[in-house]
Subunit: 287 residues, 2 copies
Protein backbone atom coordinates (compact mmCIF):
# COMPACT_ATOMS: atom_id res chain seq x y z
CA UNK A 1 0.00 0.00 0.00
CA UNK A 2 1.79 3.14 -1.18
CA UNK A 3 1.32 5.50 1.72
CA UNK A 4 0.24 8.95 0.79
CA UNK A 5 2.73 11.40 2.22
CA UNK A 6 2.06 15.07 2.70
CA UNK A 7 4.53 17.88 2.33
CA UNK A 8 4.72 20.57 4.94
CA UNK A 9 2.27 22.91 3.27
CA UNK A 10 -0.35 20.20 3.05
CA UNK A 11 -0.13 19.15 6.69
CA UNK A 12 -0.11 22.77 7.68
CA UNK A 13 -3.32 23.43 5.82
CA UNK A 14 -4.98 20.35 7.27
CA UNK A 15 -4.04 21.07 10.86
CA UNK A 16 -3.95 24.82 10.89
CA UNK A 17 -0.44 24.91 12.31
CA UNK A 18 2.06 27.08 10.47
CA UNK A 19 4.97 25.32 8.71
CA UNK A 20 7.51 27.24 10.74
CA UNK A 21 5.82 26.16 13.92
CA UNK A 22 5.81 22.53 12.84
CA UNK A 23 9.54 22.68 12.17
CA UNK A 24 10.19 24.26 15.55
CA UNK A 25 8.06 21.63 17.29
CA UNK A 26 10.14 18.99 15.61
CA UNK A 27 13.39 20.70 16.46
CA UNK A 28 12.58 21.73 20.02
CA UNK A 29 10.33 18.95 21.32
CA UNK A 30 10.95 16.11 18.91
CA UNK A 31 7.27 15.39 18.49
CA UNK A 32 7.43 14.57 14.79
CA UNK A 33 9.88 12.53 12.76
CA UNK A 34 8.63 12.88 9.20
CA UNK A 35 10.24 10.93 6.40
CA UNK A 36 12.61 12.87 4.20
CA UNK A 37 12.95 12.91 0.45
CA UNK A 38 16.34 12.30 -1.08
CA UNK A 39 16.80 16.04 -1.10
CA UNK A 40 15.87 16.40 2.57
CA UNK A 41 12.32 17.71 2.36
CA UNK A 42 9.79 16.55 4.98
CA UNK A 43 7.02 14.12 4.06
CA UNK A 44 4.34 13.57 6.71
CA UNK A 45 2.17 10.49 7.24
CA UNK A 46 -1.44 10.27 8.40
CA UNK A 47 -0.17 9.33 11.84
CA UNK A 48 1.74 12.59 11.93
CA UNK A 49 -1.43 14.44 11.06
CA UNK A 50 -3.21 12.81 13.98
CA UNK A 51 -0.42 13.65 16.35
CA UNK A 52 -0.43 17.28 15.26
CA UNK A 53 -4.20 17.48 15.60
CA UNK A 54 -4.00 16.00 19.07
CA UNK A 55 -1.35 18.50 20.11
CA UNK A 56 -3.39 21.33 18.63
CA UNK A 57 -6.39 20.24 20.72
CA UNK A 58 -4.32 20.09 23.92
CA UNK A 59 -3.05 23.59 23.27
CA UNK A 60 -6.62 24.75 22.86
CA UNK A 61 -7.24 23.35 26.35
CA UNK A 62 -4.48 25.50 27.75
CA UNK A 63 -1.54 23.11 27.87
CA UNK A 64 1.84 24.35 26.80
CA UNK A 65 3.34 22.64 23.83
CA UNK A 66 6.28 21.41 25.88
CA UNK A 67 3.99 19.57 28.29
CA UNK A 68 1.68 18.34 25.57
CA UNK A 69 4.53 16.82 23.61
CA UNK A 70 5.73 15.04 26.72
CA UNK A 71 2.24 13.60 27.18
CA UNK A 72 2.32 12.39 23.63
CA UNK A 73 5.51 10.45 24.30
CA UNK A 74 4.21 8.88 27.45
CA UNK A 75 0.92 7.75 26.03
CA UNK A 76 2.59 6.14 23.05
CA UNK A 77 0.76 6.73 19.84
CA UNK A 78 -2.67 6.56 21.38
CA UNK A 79 -3.63 9.92 22.74
CA UNK A 80 -7.42 9.84 22.99
CA UNK A 81 -9.62 12.33 24.72
CA UNK A 82 -13.13 11.13 24.01
CA UNK A 83 -14.86 8.97 26.67
CA UNK A 84 -16.27 6.53 24.14
CA UNK A 85 -12.95 6.06 22.41
CA UNK A 86 -11.16 5.63 25.71
CA UNK A 87 -13.74 3.09 26.72
CA UNK A 88 -13.23 1.13 23.51
CA UNK A 89 -9.47 1.39 23.71
CA UNK A 90 -9.58 0.02 27.23
CA UNK A 91 -11.81 -2.85 26.25
CA UNK A 92 -9.58 -3.70 23.33
CA UNK A 93 -6.50 -3.59 25.55
CA UNK A 94 -8.15 -5.91 28.06
CA UNK A 95 -9.18 -8.32 25.31
CA UNK A 96 -5.64 -8.35 23.96
CA UNK A 97 -4.16 -8.78 27.46
CA UNK A 98 -1.96 -5.83 26.56
CA UNK A 99 -0.79 -4.72 29.96
CA UNK A 100 0.90 -1.56 28.83
CA UNK A 101 -2.07 -0.48 26.79
CA UNK A 102 -4.37 -1.01 29.77
CA UNK A 103 -2.14 1.11 31.95
CA UNK A 104 -1.84 3.94 29.53
CA UNK A 105 -5.54 3.95 28.72
CA UNK A 106 -6.32 4.20 32.42
CA UNK A 107 -3.72 6.94 32.87
CA UNK A 108 -5.23 8.83 29.97
CA UNK A 109 -8.72 8.42 31.29
CA UNK A 110 -7.97 9.92 34.65
CA UNK A 111 -5.67 12.56 33.23
CA UNK A 112 -7.87 13.88 30.47
CA UNK A 113 -11.41 13.48 31.75
CA UNK A 114 -13.06 15.13 34.71
CA UNK A 115 -13.41 12.61 37.52
CA UNK A 116 -17.14 12.07 37.36
CA UNK A 117 -16.98 11.56 33.64
CA UNK A 118 -14.07 9.16 33.98
CA UNK A 119 -16.04 7.09 36.45
CA UNK A 120 -19.47 7.19 34.83
CA UNK A 121 -18.47 7.08 31.17
CA UNK A 122 -15.37 4.90 31.18
CA UNK A 123 -14.69 2.96 34.35
CA UNK A 124 -18.24 1.84 35.09
CA UNK A 125 -19.03 0.74 31.54
CA UNK A 126 -15.73 -1.09 31.23
CA UNK A 127 -16.30 -2.95 34.47
CA UNK A 128 -19.83 -3.86 33.38
CA UNK A 129 -18.46 -5.09 30.09
CA UNK A 130 -15.80 -7.11 31.86
CA UNK A 131 -18.43 -8.71 34.07
CA UNK A 132 -20.52 -9.61 31.05
CA UNK A 133 -17.60 -10.88 29.06
CA UNK A 134 -16.55 -13.01 31.99
CA UNK A 135 -20.04 -14.52 32.23
CA UNK A 136 -20.00 -15.28 28.53
CA UNK A 137 -16.61 -16.89 28.84
CA UNK A 138 -14.97 -14.28 26.63
CA UNK A 139 -12.73 -13.17 29.44
CA UNK A 140 -10.79 -15.40 31.79
CA UNK A 141 -10.91 -14.93 35.53
CA UNK A 142 -7.28 -13.91 35.37
CA UNK A 143 -7.98 -11.14 32.90
CA UNK A 144 -10.86 -9.94 34.99
CA UNK A 145 -8.71 -9.91 38.12
CA UNK A 146 -5.91 -8.11 36.34
CA UNK A 147 -8.09 -5.29 35.15
CA UNK A 148 -9.97 -5.02 38.45
CA UNK A 149 -6.73 -4.75 40.34
CA UNK A 150 -5.44 -2.04 38.05
CA UNK A 151 -8.66 -0.04 38.23
CA UNK A 152 -8.73 -0.42 41.98
CA UNK A 153 -5.20 0.92 42.22
CA UNK A 154 -6.12 4.01 40.26
CA UNK A 155 -9.21 4.61 42.35
CA UNK A 156 -7.39 4.02 45.60
CA UNK A 157 -4.82 6.60 44.58
CA UNK A 158 -7.64 9.12 44.44
CA UNK A 159 -8.55 8.32 48.04
CA UNK A 160 -5.23 9.03 49.71
CA UNK A 161 -5.20 12.78 49.81
CA UNK A 162 -6.89 14.02 52.92
CA UNK A 163 -9.59 16.60 52.60
CA UNK A 164 -11.68 18.57 54.99
CA UNK A 165 -15.03 17.72 56.34
CA UNK A 166 -17.96 19.99 55.66
CA UNK A 167 -20.84 17.57 55.42
CA UNK A 168 -20.02 15.03 58.05
CA UNK A 169 -18.61 11.57 58.15
CA UNK A 170 -19.78 8.81 55.84
CA UNK A 171 -18.94 5.22 56.68
CA UNK A 172 -19.08 2.84 53.72
CA UNK A 173 -18.96 -0.92 53.68
CA UNK A 174 -19.67 -4.01 51.64
CA UNK A 175 -21.79 -6.46 53.56
CA UNK A 176 -20.43 -9.76 54.84
CA UNK A 177 -19.36 -12.08 52.08
CA UNK A 178 -19.30 -9.29 49.53
CA UNK A 179 -15.93 -8.82 47.91
CA UNK A 180 -16.64 -6.57 44.97
CA UNK A 181 -15.78 -3.23 46.42
CA UNK A 182 -14.94 -1.22 43.34
CA UNK A 183 -18.38 0.31 43.14
CA UNK A 184 -18.10 1.33 46.74
CA UNK A 185 -14.69 2.84 46.07
CA UNK A 186 -16.15 4.95 43.31
CA UNK A 187 -18.87 6.12 45.63
CA UNK A 188 -16.28 6.88 48.29
CA UNK A 189 -14.35 9.06 45.87
CA UNK A 190 -17.45 10.86 44.71
CA UNK A 191 -18.61 11.51 48.25
CA UNK A 192 -15.24 12.83 49.26
CA UNK A 193 -15.28 15.15 46.32
CA UNK A 194 -18.66 16.39 47.48
CA UNK A 195 -17.26 17.36 50.86
CA UNK A 196 -17.80 14.29 53.02
CA UNK A 197 -15.19 12.72 55.16
CA UNK A 198 -15.26 9.09 54.14
CA UNK A 199 -14.31 5.97 56.04
CA UNK A 200 -14.45 3.04 53.67
CA UNK A 201 -14.39 -0.30 55.45
CA UNK A 202 -14.20 -2.23 52.22
CA UNK A 203 -15.24 -5.78 51.42
CA UNK A 204 -16.76 -8.36 53.75
CA UNK A 205 -17.64 -6.18 56.69
CA UNK A 206 -19.99 -7.51 59.37
CA UNK A 207 -22.96 -5.21 59.63
CA UNK A 208 -22.87 -4.76 63.39
CA UNK A 209 -19.21 -3.89 63.45
CA UNK A 210 -19.80 -1.29 60.76
CA UNK A 211 -22.59 0.19 62.84
CA UNK A 212 -20.42 0.21 65.91
CA UNK A 213 -17.60 1.96 64.09
CA UNK A 214 -20.01 4.46 62.59
CA UNK A 215 -20.98 5.38 66.12
CA UNK A 216 -17.44 5.69 67.34
CA UNK A 217 -16.52 8.09 64.58
CA UNK A 218 -19.79 9.93 64.96
CA UNK A 219 -20.88 9.27 61.39
CA UNK A 220 -23.76 11.00 59.70
CA UNK A 221 -24.49 8.26 57.23
CA UNK A 222 -23.63 4.59 56.98
CA UNK A 223 -23.83 3.09 53.53
CA UNK A 224 -23.96 -0.61 52.65
CA UNK A 225 -23.31 -2.01 49.22
CA UNK A 226 -25.39 -5.13 48.73
CA UNK A 227 -24.84 -7.18 45.59
CA UNK A 228 -25.51 -10.72 46.81
CA UNK A 229 -28.94 -12.12 47.53
CA UNK A 230 -27.69 -13.78 50.68
CA UNK A 231 -26.57 -10.47 52.12
CA UNK A 232 -30.10 -9.20 52.29
CA UNK A 233 -31.00 -11.71 54.99
CA UNK A 234 -27.92 -10.95 57.03
CA UNK A 235 -28.67 -7.30 56.76
CA UNK A 236 -32.21 -7.93 57.97
CA UNK A 237 -30.95 -9.73 61.08
CA UNK A 238 -28.36 -7.14 62.00
CA UNK A 239 -30.53 -4.14 61.30
CA UNK A 240 -33.33 -5.56 63.41
CA UNK A 241 -31.32 -4.98 66.57
CA UNK A 242 -29.80 -1.68 65.55
CA UNK A 243 -32.66 -0.06 63.80
CA UNK A 244 -33.43 2.30 66.60
CA UNK A 245 -30.00 3.90 66.73
CA UNK A 246 -30.23 7.61 66.64
CA UNK A 247 -28.41 10.07 64.52
CA UNK A 248 -27.00 7.81 61.87
CA UNK A 249 -28.85 7.47 58.61
CA UNK A 250 -28.43 4.01 57.20
CA UNK A 251 -28.37 3.73 53.45
CA UNK A 252 -28.37 0.74 51.14
CA UNK A 253 -27.73 0.32 47.46
CA UNK A 254 -26.67 -2.37 45.05
CA UNK A 255 -28.04 -5.07 42.82
CA UNK A 256 -29.89 -7.06 45.44
CA UNK A 257 -31.83 -4.41 47.27
CA UNK A 258 -35.05 -2.80 46.18
CA UNK A 259 -36.98 0.18 47.48
CA UNK A 260 -39.41 -2.26 49.08
CA UNK A 261 -36.68 -4.02 51.02
CA UNK A 262 -35.20 -0.73 52.10
CA UNK A 263 -38.59 0.41 53.35
CA UNK A 264 -39.07 -2.83 55.23
CA UNK A 265 -35.70 -2.33 56.94
CA UNK A 266 -36.45 1.29 57.68
CA UNK A 267 -33.41 2.52 55.81
CA UNK A 268 -32.82 4.78 52.82
CA UNK A 269 -32.48 3.40 49.33
CA UNK A 270 -30.18 4.95 46.74
CA UNK A 271 -29.75 4.21 43.09
CA UNK A 272 -28.57 5.84 39.90
CA UNK A 273 -25.33 7.29 38.59
CA UNK A 274 -22.69 8.33 41.06
CA UNK A 275 -23.64 11.96 40.79
CA UNK A 276 -27.27 11.15 41.46
CA UNK A 277 -26.38 8.99 44.43
CA UNK A 278 -24.21 11.71 45.87
CA UNK A 279 -27.02 14.21 45.42
CA UNK A 280 -29.43 11.91 47.27
CA UNK A 281 -27.01 11.44 50.13
CA UNK A 282 -26.37 15.13 50.41
CA UNK A 283 -29.99 15.58 51.40
CA UNK A 284 -29.61 13.15 54.29
CA UNK A 285 -27.55 15.37 56.52
CA UNK A 286 -28.24 14.78 60.15
CA UNK A 287 -31.54 16.32 61.07
Amino acid sequence: MPELLLNITAISRRTGIAPDTLRKWEQRYGVLRPERTAGGQRRYSETDVQRVEWLRDRIAEGWRIGEASRMLDESGSMALDDPTELCNALIKAIRDVDVNAISSALDQTFAVLPLSQALDCVISPVLCWAGDAWHKGELSVGQEHAVSARVRNHLAALMVQSTGNVRGMAVLACGPGEYHDIGLLMLAISLRKDGWQVENLGPDTPVDTAIELAHRVNATILCFSVALETSVERLRESLASFNAVTGIKIVVGGASVTPAIAREFGVTYVIGSLDETVAQLRLLKRT
Copy 2:
Protein backbone atom coordinates in the same frame (compact mmCIF):
# COMPACT_ATOMS: atom_id res chain seq x y z
CA MET B 1 8.07 8.84 35.02
CA PRO B 2 6.79 12.06 36.54
CA GLU B 3 3.05 12.13 36.23
CA LEU B 4 1.27 14.54 33.98
CA LEU B 5 1.61 18.09 35.18
CA LEU B 6 -0.60 20.95 34.15
CA ASN B 7 0.45 24.53 33.67
CA ILE B 8 -1.53 27.29 35.27
CA THR B 9 -3.70 27.95 32.24
CA ALA B 10 -4.74 24.32 31.98
CA ILE B 11 -5.70 23.99 35.63
CA SER B 12 -7.49 27.28 35.39
CA ARG B 13 -9.58 26.10 32.45
CA ARG B 14 -10.37 22.83 34.14
CA THR B 15 -11.40 24.32 37.44
CA GLY B 16 -12.74 27.67 36.33
CA ILE B 17 -10.52 29.55 38.77
CA ALA B 18 -8.50 32.42 37.32
CA PRO B 19 -4.71 32.06 37.31
CA ASP B 20 -4.30 35.20 39.38
CA THR B 21 -6.63 33.79 41.99
CA LEU B 22 -4.80 30.49 42.10
CA ARG B 23 -1.53 32.29 42.74
CA LYS B 24 -3.09 34.32 45.51
CA TRP B 25 -4.57 31.21 47.12
CA GLU B 26 -1.14 29.69 47.08
CA GLN B 27 0.50 32.77 48.50
CA ARG B 28 -2.10 33.62 51.13
CA TYR B 29 -3.40 30.26 52.29
CA GLY B 30 -0.76 27.82 51.16
CA VAL B 31 -3.37 25.50 49.73
CA LEU B 32 -1.27 24.48 46.77
CA ARG B 33 2.39 23.66 46.44
CA PRO B 34 2.80 23.06 42.73
CA GLU B 35 6.08 21.80 41.39
CA ARG B 36 8.15 24.32 39.51
CA THR B 37 9.90 23.94 36.20
CA ALA B 38 13.54 24.86 35.88
CA GLY B 39 12.32 28.25 34.71
CA GLY B 40 10.11 28.72 37.75
CA GLN B 41 6.73 28.08 36.21
CA ARG B 42 4.09 26.26 38.23
CA ARG B 43 3.18 22.71 37.28
CA TYR B 44 0.11 21.27 38.96
CA SER B 45 -0.66 17.62 39.62
CA GLU B 46 -4.00 15.85 39.45
CA THR B 47 -4.09 16.06 43.22
CA ASP B 48 -3.85 19.81 42.97
CA VAL B 49 -6.75 19.79 40.53
CA GLN B 50 -8.81 17.83 43.02
CA ARG B 51 -7.96 20.25 45.78
CA VAL B 52 -8.89 23.26 43.70
CA GLU B 53 -12.14 21.64 42.63
CA TRP B 54 -12.93 20.86 46.23
CA LEU B 55 -12.30 24.44 47.27
CA ARG B 56 -14.29 25.77 44.33
CA ASP B 57 -17.26 23.62 45.31
CA ARG B 58 -17.12 24.82 48.89
CA ILE B 59 -17.04 28.42 47.71
CA ALA B 60 -20.03 27.73 45.50
CA GLU B 61 -21.80 26.63 48.66
CA GLY B 62 -21.07 29.92 50.34
CA TRP B 63 -17.94 29.19 52.34
CA ARG B 64 -15.15 31.73 52.35
CA ILE B 65 -11.88 30.67 50.85
CA GLY B 66 -10.03 31.26 54.10
CA GLU B 67 -12.31 28.87 55.96
CA ALA B 68 -12.33 26.30 53.20
CA SER B 69 -8.56 26.23 52.96
CA ARG B 70 -8.25 25.86 56.69
CA MET B 71 -10.54 22.85 56.53
CA LEU B 72 -8.42 21.43 53.77
CA ASP B 73 -5.21 21.22 55.74
CA GLU B 74 -6.66 20.44 59.10
CA SER B 75 -4.57 17.31 59.15
CA GLY B 76 -2.17 17.36 62.03
CA SER B 77 1.36 18.64 61.81
CA MET B 78 3.27 16.25 63.97
CA ALA B 79 6.36 15.99 61.79
CA LEU B 80 7.79 12.70 62.97
CA ASP B 81 10.56 11.07 61.06
CA ASP B 82 11.52 8.11 63.21
CA PRO B 83 10.05 4.74 62.18
CA THR B 84 9.41 3.65 65.74
CA GLU B 85 7.63 6.83 66.64
CA LEU B 86 5.56 6.72 63.50
CA CYS B 87 4.69 3.15 64.28
CA ASN B 88 3.57 4.07 67.78
CA ALA B 89 1.69 7.11 66.60
CA LEU B 90 -0.14 4.98 64.09
CA ILE B 91 -1.03 2.36 66.66
CA LYS B 92 -2.26 4.98 69.06
CA ALA B 93 -4.36 6.59 66.34
CA ILE B 94 -5.90 3.24 65.46
CA ARG B 95 -6.67 2.51 69.11
CA ASP B 96 -8.31 5.88 69.49
CA VAL B 97 -10.23 5.48 66.22
CA ASP B 98 -8.87 8.88 65.32
CA VAL B 99 -9.40 8.92 61.60
CA ASN B 100 -7.51 12.10 60.93
CA ALA B 101 -4.55 10.99 62.97
CA ILE B 102 -4.43 7.69 61.08
CA SER B 103 -4.45 9.50 57.78
CA SER B 104 -1.79 11.95 58.66
CA ALA B 105 0.43 9.31 60.23
CA LEU B 106 0.21 7.26 57.06
CA ASP B 107 0.88 10.31 54.93
CA GLN B 108 3.90 11.10 57.07
CA THR B 109 5.18 7.57 56.89
CA PHE B 110 5.20 7.42 53.13
CA ALA B 111 6.36 10.99 52.72
CA VAL B 112 9.27 10.86 55.13
CA LEU B 113 10.63 7.33 55.05
CA PRO B 114 12.23 5.52 52.17
CA LEU B 115 9.75 3.04 50.76
CA SER B 116 11.35 -0.14 52.00
CA GLN B 117 11.71 1.28 55.48
CA ALA B 118 8.12 2.48 55.48
CA LEU B 119 6.94 -0.99 54.59
CA ASP B 120 9.24 -3.07 56.77
CA CYS B 121 9.46 -0.82 59.83
CA VAL B 122 6.02 0.76 59.99
CA ILE B 123 3.35 -0.79 57.81
CA SER B 124 4.21 -4.45 58.43
CA PRO B 125 4.55 -4.11 62.20
CA VAL B 126 1.37 -2.11 62.44
CA LEU B 127 -0.57 -4.67 60.46
CA CYS B 128 0.86 -7.47 62.61
CA TRP B 129 -0.10 -5.57 65.69
CA ALA B 130 -3.59 -5.00 64.32
CA GLY B 131 -3.97 -8.71 63.62
CA ASP B 132 -2.86 -9.56 67.14
CA ALA B 133 -5.03 -6.94 68.74
CA TRP B 134 -7.98 -8.20 66.79
CA HIS B 135 -7.34 -11.75 67.99
CA LYS B 136 -7.16 -10.53 71.55
CA GLY B 137 -10.38 -8.63 71.12
CA GLU B 138 -8.66 -5.29 71.65
CA LEU B 139 -9.60 -4.15 68.19
CA SER B 140 -12.98 -4.49 66.55
CA VAL B 141 -13.37 -5.90 63.08
CA GLY B 142 -14.49 -2.48 61.97
CA GLN B 143 -11.33 -0.83 63.20
CA GLU B 144 -9.25 -3.48 61.52
CA HIS B 145 -11.10 -2.99 58.26
CA ALA B 146 -10.77 0.76 58.48
CA VAL B 147 -7.04 0.69 58.90
CA SER B 148 -6.56 -2.03 56.29
CA ALA B 149 -8.54 -0.07 53.76
CA ARG B 150 -6.52 3.06 54.40
CA VAL B 151 -3.22 1.24 54.17
CA ARG B 152 -4.33 -0.49 51.02
CA ASN B 153 -5.22 2.84 49.46
CA HIS B 154 -1.78 4.22 50.18
CA LEU B 155 -0.09 1.15 48.81
CA ALA B 156 -2.27 1.04 45.73
CA ALA B 157 -1.40 4.64 45.03
CA LEU B 158 2.22 3.59 44.81
CA MET B 159 1.33 1.06 42.14
CA VAL B 160 -0.17 3.41 39.58
CA GLN B 161 2.91 5.08 38.20
CA SER B 162 4.07 3.16 35.21
CA THR B 163 7.68 2.12 35.15
CA GLY B 164 10.01 0.47 32.74
CA ASN B 165 10.66 -3.20 32.62
CA VAL B 166 14.25 -4.21 33.10
CA ARG B 167 13.89 -7.53 34.86
CA GLY B 168 10.83 -9.07 33.29
CA MET B 169 7.23 -9.58 34.19
CA ALA B 170 6.11 -10.85 37.56
CA VAL B 171 2.56 -12.08 38.05
CA LEU B 172 1.34 -12.06 41.65
CA ALA B 173 -1.78 -13.60 43.13
CA CYS B 174 -3.45 -14.69 46.33
CA GLY B 175 -4.72 -18.21 46.07
CA PRO B 176 -8.43 -19.03 45.91
CA GLY B 177 -10.30 -18.09 49.04
CA GLU B 178 -7.48 -15.80 50.19
CA TYR B 179 -8.59 -12.25 50.69
CA HIS B 180 -5.73 -10.68 52.60
CA ASP B 181 -3.79 -9.13 49.81
CA ILE B 182 -1.92 -6.37 51.57
CA GLY B 183 1.21 -8.44 51.92
CA LEU B 184 1.10 -9.18 48.24
CA LEU B 185 0.58 -5.53 47.48
CA MET B 186 3.70 -4.68 49.45
CA LEU B 187 5.64 -7.28 47.53
CA ALA B 188 4.25 -5.90 44.27
CA ILE B 189 5.48 -2.43 45.15
CA SER B 190 8.89 -3.70 46.18
CA LEU B 191 9.29 -5.72 43.01
CA ARG B 192 8.18 -2.81 40.92
CA LYS B 193 10.76 -0.67 42.59
CA ASP B 194 13.38 -3.29 41.84
CA GLY B 195 12.64 -3.01 38.14
CA TRP B 196 10.03 -5.68 37.52
CA GLN B 197 6.90 -5.15 35.60
CA VAL B 198 4.22 -6.39 37.96
CA GLU B 199 0.77 -7.74 37.28
CA ASN B 200 -1.01 -8.20 40.58
CA LEU B 201 -4.13 -10.32 40.29
CA GLY B 202 -5.10 -9.70 43.88
CA PRO B 203 -7.26 -11.77 46.22
CA ASP B 204 -9.03 -15.03 45.50
CA THR B 205 -7.42 -15.97 42.22
CA PRO B 206 -7.81 -19.53 40.90
CA VAL B 207 -4.39 -21.05 40.44
CA ASP B 208 -4.89 -22.27 36.90
CA THR B 209 -6.18 -18.94 35.66
CA ALA B 210 -3.16 -17.24 37.16
CA ILE B 211 -0.88 -19.67 35.37
CA GLU B 212 -2.72 -19.11 32.12
CA LEU B 213 -2.43 -15.36 32.42
CA ALA B 214 1.23 -15.63 33.33
CA HIS B 215 1.74 -17.42 30.05
CA ARG B 216 -0.19 -14.91 28.03
CA VAL B 217 1.85 -12.01 29.34
CA ASN B 218 5.03 -14.01 29.03
CA ALA B 219 5.87 -13.75 32.71
CA THR B 220 9.22 -14.65 34.21
CA ILE B 221 7.91 -15.46 37.64
CA LEU B 222 4.53 -16.27 39.10
CA CYS B 223 4.17 -15.73 42.81
CA PHE B 224 1.42 -17.08 45.07
CA SER B 225 0.68 -15.81 48.54
CA VAL B 226 -0.63 -18.63 50.68
CA ALA B 227 -1.91 -17.83 54.14
CA LEU B 228 -4.68 -20.38 54.63
CA GLU B 229 -4.12 -24.05 55.32
CA THR B 230 -6.82 -25.02 52.86
CA SER B 231 -5.06 -23.25 50.02
CA VAL B 232 -2.14 -25.63 50.18
CA GLU B 233 -4.29 -28.50 48.99
CA ARG B 234 -5.78 -26.51 46.16
CA LEU B 235 -2.35 -25.42 45.13
CA ARG B 236 -1.22 -29.03 45.10
CA GLU B 237 -4.04 -30.03 42.77
CA SER B 238 -3.53 -27.19 40.33
CA LEU B 239 0.23 -27.36 40.28
CA ALA B 240 0.12 -31.08 39.61
CA SER B 241 -1.17 -30.46 36.11
CA PHE B 242 0.88 -27.38 35.37
CA ASN B 243 4.12 -28.28 36.98
CA ALA B 244 5.87 -28.99 33.74
CA VAL B 245 5.28 -25.57 32.21
CA THR B 246 8.45 -24.16 30.87
CA GLY B 247 9.96 -20.79 31.33
CA ILE B 248 7.90 -19.55 34.24
CA LYS B 249 9.32 -19.89 37.70
CA ILE B 250 6.60 -20.50 40.23
CA VAL B 251 7.16 -19.07 43.66
CA VAL B 252 5.23 -19.45 46.90
CA GLY B 253 5.34 -17.66 50.20
CA GLY B 254 3.12 -17.00 53.17
CA ALA B 255 2.18 -18.38 56.53
CA SER B 256 0.98 -21.79 55.40
CA VAL B 257 3.77 -22.94 53.17
CA THR B 258 7.07 -24.42 54.25
CA PRO B 259 10.26 -25.20 52.37
CA ALA B 260 9.22 -28.85 52.45
CA ILE B 261 5.90 -28.18 50.78
CA ALA B 262 7.53 -26.02 48.18
CA ARG B 263 10.04 -28.77 47.43
CA GLU B 264 7.24 -31.27 47.12
CA PHE B 265 5.46 -29.02 44.64
CA GLY B 266 8.65 -28.38 42.74
CA VAL B 267 8.42 -24.63 43.22
CA THR B 268 10.57 -21.99 44.84
CA TYR B 269 10.02 -20.91 48.43
CA VAL B 270 10.61 -17.36 49.59
CA ILE B 271 10.58 -15.87 53.03
CA GLY B 272 11.92 -12.94 54.98
CA SER B 273 11.66 -9.20 54.82
CA LEU B 274 10.51 -7.59 51.61
CA ASP B 275 14.03 -6.67 50.63
CA GLU B 276 15.21 -10.21 51.17
CA THR B 277 12.32 -11.61 49.18
CA VAL B 278 13.03 -9.24 46.33
CA ALA B 279 16.69 -10.25 46.39
CA GLN B 280 15.74 -13.92 46.19
CA LEU B 281 13.41 -13.32 43.29
CA ARG B 282 15.99 -11.29 41.44
CA LEU B 283 18.12 -14.41 41.19
CA LEU B 284 15.32 -16.34 39.53
CA LYS B 285 15.48 -14.62 36.17
CA ARG B 286 14.55 -16.88 33.35
CA THR B 287 17.41 -19.24 32.68
